[in-house]
């Protein structure tokens, strides 16, 4: 039950993009088409779930016993950068089709602040290994939901007559603001 609350809280109530503002660069940049948005979402789900698992293990079994917790930012970002490289190499060897689909998004994920943000919030909230993995997965699902909805709306906006000054970024930000209000509705769930 506790795990379910963590997952729903991470995915909907505290949506990573719309209420915590993490991972905004891909959310605004890679949301022009539903296909690419879903691809990015898939890559993010994989990387965030694995990285929150590994960061949680490293924190509990290496940094805490050695009293090096103050190094967590440096260690986590290196782990994430290395992990993204490994995932890329692994996909290239084992599943070329998946690599074709996700390849372009993987390098972008290193600088996706959601990945590092989740690793750090897990530590801050004192989550154990299982809780960290569930929180990571839930967060990534929340990111995917938000970016796919956004891409769907943007495909429609293409056909609308947007005032010249609002074309591009401003109209996307206004849409994100309205989505953010809609996601407030989930606050009643928990």
């Amino acid at each position: 039950m506790n795990l379910l609350i963590i997952a729903i809280g991470a995915a909907l109530v505290n949506n990573v993009v719309l209420s915590q503002f993490l991972g905004l660069c891909p959310f605004l940049g890679v949301s022009k088409k539903i296909n690419t948005a879903a691809g990015m979402g898939g890559a993010v789900i994989g990387v965030i779930t694995i990285s929150s698992a590994i960061c949680s293990l490293i924190y509990d079994f290496i940094l805490v016993p050695l009293d090096l917790t103050y190094l967590n930012t440096i260690v986590f970002i290196l782990v994430i950068a290395a992990l993204v490289q490994f995932v890329e190499m692994f996909l290239k060897k084992t599943s070329p089709a998946l690599y074709e689909a996700l390849g372009v998004y993987l390098p972008l994920i290193t600088t996706n602040c959601a990945v590092l943000g989740i690793a750090l919030t897990n530590v801050q909230n004192g989550y154990n290994f299982i809780e960290s993995v569930v929180a990571g997965f839930g967060t990534a699902v929340g990111f995917t939901i938000a970016i796919v909805i956004m891409a769907g709306i943007r495909e429609r906006i293409e056909f609308n007559d947007v005032p010249e000054s609002f074309q591009g970024m401003p109209i996307v930000l206004l849409t994100a603001g309205l989505m953010s209000i809609a996601f407030f509705g989930f606050a009643g769930i928990l």
Partner: protein, 240 residues
């Protein structure tokens, strides 16, 4: 010396990281609930930018090309950790209100972007000034955003908890607290960029800035610069 002044102007106005390049959106939207938070976040990012640009420029001939990204990240992360400790020690209240966004300065794309695009190719002094210009441009932008959100959402300017520079009494204006919450961040930034676009259109300025990292092969779907919207690529193709 001219070069240094030119770098400052470039960062503050011509290539303002927030309003023109739309980089570093996460801290821009997240911490601008008040002007003080904006100043705190902006100045700490500026310190990290100047120091990391300085260090990377010094080491630019030593770092092998193949591992330059991890090397840059470690340098930036070290400076961020230092800033984090200094802030925790000397400005604990600001440290609490910025929270997780301080360690996240590491993944602010402005910092790695400047390291990659400028500091790794240029001498030390211009690199430091480039960092300073970009940092101050970022600080100004998020302080303005913070001040607007604070004014509309809480009816104060530069409030520090107990005292404020300007306070609008409740009887005159009832604060719309949605502007302090998440949606307000999106709305205010959208308005600011729209106003910038309007001003640029009026003066016949080029609306799109070619980002430094543009691959110019039409792969715009995976580019984060929505202000450009493929215009850089189209221009390139026209000239060819």
């Amino acid at each position: 010396m001219n070069k240094c002044v030119e770098r400052l102007y470039n960062g503050l106005i011509k290539e303002n990281p927030t309003f023109v390049l739309t980089l570093g959106m996460c801290p821009t939207l997240a911490v601008t609930t008040s002007a003080i938070n904006g100043i705190g976040m902006g100045l700490s990012s500026t310190v990290v930018l100047v120091m990391s640009n300085l260090m990377i420029s010094l080491l630019r001939k030593i770092i092998p090309d193949g591992v330059r990204m991890p090397a840059f990240i470690v340098i930036v992360a070290s400076f961020v950790t230092m800033v984090q400790f200094l802030m925790q020690g000397y400005l604990p209240s600001l440290y609490d209100s910025l929270g997780i966004y301080i360690p996240l300065i590491v993944v602010n794309c402005i910092i790695l972007g400047r390291a990659e695009a400028y500091a790794s190719k240029n001498p030390v002094l211009p690199s430091a000034f480039d960092g300073l210009g970009m940092g101050l441009g970022f600080t100004c932008a998020i302080t303005i955003l913070g001040a607007v959100r604070e004014l509309i959402g809480a009816g104060t300017i530069l409030s520090t908890g107990s005292s404020a520079l300007v306070t609008i009494p409740e009887s005159v204006y009832t604060p719309a607290s949605i502007f302090i919450l998440a949606p307000g961040a999106f709305f205010v930034l959208a308005m600011c960029i729209a106003i910038m676009n309007k001003i640029k259109a009026k003066h016949g300025m080029e609306p799109a800035q070619v980002p430094d990292y543009c691959s110019k092969d039409g792969s715009c779907d995976s580019c984060a610069n929505t202000m450009c919207g493929g215009k850089a690529f189209a221009e390139e193709k026209k000239q060819a």
